[in-house]
Every structure is written in structure tokens, then in C-alpha cells.
């Protein structure tokens, strides 16, 4: 059953209809095969780009769609529902444009943003390092200023779209002042000295390439510095506030897909002479799954509406990320239960959904870190 949405305008309804059509015709049929082959769906991102979906929440004057987060996130949810790796990729791409759109100078935006939002290019966001995950302020990739360029040396870890992306919004260390010694560079894929390590061998999201990003005296023009020197961590965390809403929406989409699969199966599978959906033990499980999906959706939409109105939304975004990703983990696990032995095989998608649901609890701030953010807001209120 497709999600029943309240959308603010007819254009938003048409946009969601287009998204569902693309998801149904162009994404869903390929997902299982590409995930199995660990094949990155570059062409599918291009198609989304051509349809105008790679710049939705950014201003029209730079080629964006000027769409509120309330609508953009529901687009993301529909895409993730058909194919989680593509949903996550779209969310990461959108987040990778944040620093330039919100902290670039007028000249920088005019120069790079239209191409980044235009649909042909794909972005990545490089903050984590192997020793600096939750403690991002400990990052040590060095950028040394030399004339009108930075020479960057170090290794970024866990980079979604590593080696696939056209640009990398990268946090680097420009001084030893801890969290205030970090700066943000917009790094082009063709930068000499930049390379990607072989992809990580992951439990899920196998069609989404995750690699280390290696900088060996990579020369980045100084005019690619976004914001002030030293503002990098602040920009990175601000990007993550919005990015987390994207991950929440993707998780709801994934959970919805698992719920739909479980309901369809429970209607047609009979045991003891009746469809298993007629056993209260099964139907209550499905009811709880539906409640988890819909309450998680309501939670991210509430945060999105605050963002759209220019209200603070950091606590709500962390709550949405925590609630939605935990819901997805539970719902996908229960979907495997509803399908019984079939659910445990690769002939049905729910075991993959369950593997895919694990990582949203980890990236863009682990759920422990979300609790830290929420608790800090409670303490200082």
C-alpha cells in the first residue's frame, strides 16, 4: 500500500507521482541484481538528475527546485523504498551541496553550484577518518597553504561515493586548534594526488560504493575554501543536521517497503487452513510495524516543517534520525519473521532490507551520538 501523504501543493503531488513512477519503473526492477553484484547505479543517478531530483531543496537561481524539506524528504523516502542505496546516495549528494550553498561566496556559488545541482554531477561528503568517527574533531588530514593553493595529505574513511563522485566536500585540518582548526574544501575529482582505495566489503548497501579517500600532496586551489578557515567543523555539523533528516526519511522508506512485503506475504501464505494474516500473533506484529512506520514518518516531517519555517530543528532532527532508524531496524527484522524461512533466503528482499537497516543506526552520527545531542539540548534548555 503506497504511503498516504498530505502534500502542500499540486506540484508536490505531481513531483511525488513522478518519483513513484521512476522508482517503480527504473529503480525497483534493478535493485536486487545491482546489490548482489555490488554494482554502483551511476546511470540511475543521471536519470534522477535529468528529472531534476538532484537539487530539489536548493534555490531556483542556481538550478535547484526550491522545494521545501517537507516535500524533498518524501521524494527521498519513495526512492529509498524502491532502492535504499539510491535513496542514501541522493541524500548524501544533497548534503554534499550544503556547504557551498549555505557558506560559499556569491562568486563560488555562481561558479560551481549550477553544475552540482544540475543532475550530471554526483557529490560526496568527506568528514570521517579511521581514528576520527564519532569524535570528528580529532580528524588529522592536513591542508598546508602554499601560495594560492592548499596541499592536502591524509586519508578520509568511509566515504560514500568514494571514487564515483565528481566532487568531494572535504573537511581538513588547517591548524592544530582542535575543533576550530578544521576547514572545508570543495575538492574536484580530477585533483592530482587524490585517489580512492578499493571499496569496503559491507554487510548491506552493497551497490553504494564506500571507500577511503587518499590525499597525497593533493593540490586544491585556495579559492575552493568554503567559509572561513577554521569554520569547517561547524559547517560539517550543520550539514549533518539536515543530512540526518534525509537518513530518517530513507529509513522510513525502507521500513515501508518491508511492511508492504510482509503484508502481501501474510495475505497469501496459508497455514492451519487460513492465511497467516488472520492469526492475531501475526496481524498484531504487522500492526506494530505499521505504527512504527507511520510514527517515524510523522517525526521526520515535524522536524522538516520546523526547518522549512526557519525554526531551530537540531534536537528534532536527532530525534527523527534515532526514531526512524531504530524503527527501520525493528520493522525489517519483524518482516523476516513474518516471512518465516522464506524471509531468511535471498529469494525474497526482506533479508536484504534487514541488512540495509543496520547502517542508518551507525552513519551520520551513531544513535548513541544522537542521544548525546538530544540530552545536551535537554540539559541546556
Amino acid at each position: 500500500m503506497p504511503a498516504d501523504r498530505l502534500l502542500p501543493t499540486t506540484e508536490a503531488e505531481d513531483l511525488l507521482a513522478l518519483t513513484r513512477e521512476l522508482a517503480r519503473e527504473e529503480l525497483a526492477p534493478l535493485a536486487a541484481e545491482y546489490e548482489e553484484a555490488e554494482r554502483f547505479p551511476r546511470e540511475q543517478f543521471r536519470l534522477l538528475g535529468k528529472s531534476g531530483l538532484l537539487g530539489l531543496p536548493y534555490p531556483e537561481r542556481w538550478g535547484g527546485g526550491d522545494v521545501p524539506y517537507e516535500v524533498y524528504l518524501q521524494v527521498l523516502e519513495e526512492i529509498a523504498s524502491a532502492w535504499m542505496s539510491v535513496g542514501v546516495g541522493l541524500s548524501v549528494h544533497t548534503m554534499s551541496c550544503f556547504a557551498l550553498a549555505h557558506h560559499g561566496t556569491e562568486a563560488q556559488r555562481e561558479r560551481w553550484l549550477p553544475a552540482m545541482l544540475g543532475g550530471d554531477l554526483l557529490g560526496a561528503y568527506a568528514l570521517s577518518e579511521s581514528h576520527a568517527g564519532s569524535d570528528a574533531a580529532a580528524l588529522s588530514t592536513r591542508a598546508r597553504r602554499e601560495g594560492d593553493a592548499y596541499l592536502v595529505t591524509g586519508a578520509k574513511a568511509w566515504i560514500t561515493h568514494g571514487g564515483q563522485a565528481d566532487f568531494y566536500t572535504t573537511m581538513v585540518r588547517t591548524s592544530d586548534d582542535g575543533g576550530t582548526g578544521i576547514s572545508c574544501l570543495l575538492v574536484d575529482r580530477d585533483t592530482p594526488g587524490l585517489s580512492a582505495a578499493p571499496p569496503e566489503r559491507k554487510m548491506g548497501l552493497t551497490a553504494s560504493t564506500t571507500t577511503q579517500l587518499l590525499f597525497d600532496n593533493a593540490r586544491v586551489d585556495a579559492d575552493r575554501l568554503l567559509g572561513e578557515e577554521g569554520a569547517g567543523l561547524r559547517i560539517a555539523l550543520e550539514s549533518l543536521n539536515s543530512g540526518r533528516l534525509g537518513i530518517a526519511a530513507c529509513s522510513v522508506g525502507l521500513a515501508q517497503a518491508a511492511l508492504d512485503e510482509a503484508v502481501a506475504y501474510a495475505k497469501q501464505r496459508t497455514q492451519f487452513g487460513s492465511p497467516i494474516i488472520e492469526f492475531q500473533g501475526v496481524e498484531f506484529l504487522l500492526a506494530d510495524m505499521a505504527a512504527a512506520v507511520e510514527s517515524a514518518r510523522a517525526t521526520y516531517l515535524e522536524a522538516a516543517r520546523r526547518r522549512d519555517r526557519g525554526l531551530p530543528f537540531q534536537r528534532q532532527a536527532s530525534i527523527a534520525k534515532l526514531v526512524a532508524t531504530d524503527a527501520a531496524m525493528k520493522v525489517t527484522t519483524d518482516a523476516v519473521q513474518v516471512l518465516g524461512g522464506a524471509g531468511y533466503t535471498r529469494d525474497f528482499p526482506v533479508e536484504r532490507y534487514m541488512r540495509e537497516a543496520k547502517v542508518p543506526q551507525i552513519f551520520e552520527g551513531t544513535n548513541q551520538i544522537q542521544r548525546l545531542v538530544i540530552a545536551r539540548a535537554l540539559r541546556t534548555a
Binding site: 499540486t10 506540484e11 505531481d14 513522478l18 521512476l22 536519470l47 528529472s51 531534476g52 527546485g65
Partner: protein
Amino acid sequence: MTNIVVLVKQVPDTYSERKLSESDHTLDRESADAVIDEINERSVEEALKIKEAGEGEVTVLCVGPDRATDAIRKALSMGADKAIHVSDESLHGSDMLATAKVLAAAIGKVEGVDLVIAGNEASDGRGGAVPAMLAELLGLPQLTHVRQLTVEGGSVKADRETEEGITHLEANLPAIVSVTEKINEPRYPSFKGIMAAKKKPVETLTVADLGVDSGEVGLGNAWSTVLEASPKPPRTAGERVEDDGDGGTKVAEYLVAQKLI
């Protein structure tokens, strides 16, 4: 400049369950999601290709209830320039003749039409006769079952494909063309197209605006009546043949038993 009218019908989504209403055996349009018929997305695509190859204007024409505006917007967001929507309570239950009369009158409202593009057959009514009726009513040449189309100067060339083979046709403009699903792959709209569609003109007309007599349309004036309707019986499970090296023989034996070979 080619002035093209595309006939677009809104139909129940073939992905959802379709049924007839219990009371009058007309299509229950509320029970299923309504979408632009896929064959008409192809009709729109063909019109846009002709327009983009030279110059032209594409007008979408739809006869259907209020919510057919969704189908019209989809055609506009693909790139059509404007639309005419004939919407009138009295049209409910109209047969093909009445539909064709209304369409003919509406086409008459567009000045200097060169080409009318329709689908070969709608996926719900499946009459496959509306384009022919229109050709008769408007006195225009008709090219049916078209899988390839070119407009050159004052004429149109088409490849017509049926089970008998392919025929190459040519007609003077203005003409009516009906296309098959082989004609093209329709484009997706883009979000820009969706935003642009919002500003494109849609003229909404009633039967009276078209000068059509309301005594000629609607269920009460249909030339035939649906007396009874029942769903097709569900397909039975069929027989499964396991291939242990003798699969071919088993299939042949089955076909012989069914007197099929």
C-alpha cells in the same frame, strides 16, 4: 509550423484493480487510481518529437471528469503547450459515438489543426474505433496502427503495422493518426516541466460550449447498453513440469494429451 492536437484519455491505472460500478455497469472511476493512458503518453511523445524537429504547437484534448486534470497536467509537464478539457456531468456513460462527436467539436475549436494524434486503442474501453469515427466526422484521412511517423511539408508518412505486415502510407495534412505501443518510448516529465505546466493554459469546456446537443451524449443516449458484467474466472494453477533430462518429452506428452499437437 505543425499544429498538433493530441487526444489524451484518463484511464484506471493498470497496476490497480479495475471494476465496473454495480449500479449502471459503467467504469467505476473512483475505485482505482486514475492515470493518463500509457498509449497517450506515447501519442504526446510523438507530437513533441515532431514539434522539436521543426516548429509546432501541441494542444492536449481530453474528454473526462474533473479529475482528468491530472492526466492533462502530466501531458503538459512532458512538454505540451496547452490543453482543452471537456468536462460535463451529462457525459457520464457516453458511448464511443458520443465521445467522438464531442472530440470532433472540440478539435473544431483549435484553429488550423494539421495533425491529430490518438492512441490506437484505449486500455480501458478498448473500442479502438474513436479515431476512425473522428476521421469520418471531420472528413479527414486516417492512418491507423502507426509505429513510425514523419511529417514533411504538407504531408504525413507512416508505417502501419498489423499482423499481416507493414504498409507504408502517405496522406495530405490535415490527417488523423493513431499510434501503437511500438511508436516510441515516452519521456518522463522533469520537475522543471511540472513547474512549467502550472502556468500553461487549460481551457475547460462543457457540452453546451461546444454546441453539442446534450440529448446526444450520456448513458441514456448510448446506442448500446451493458446489461450484465462479471469478472473473468481466476486462472487455474496449471501443471508444472520438472526437468530431469526428460522435460521436453514431458511437455510434448502434455500437449498431445491436450490435443494441442
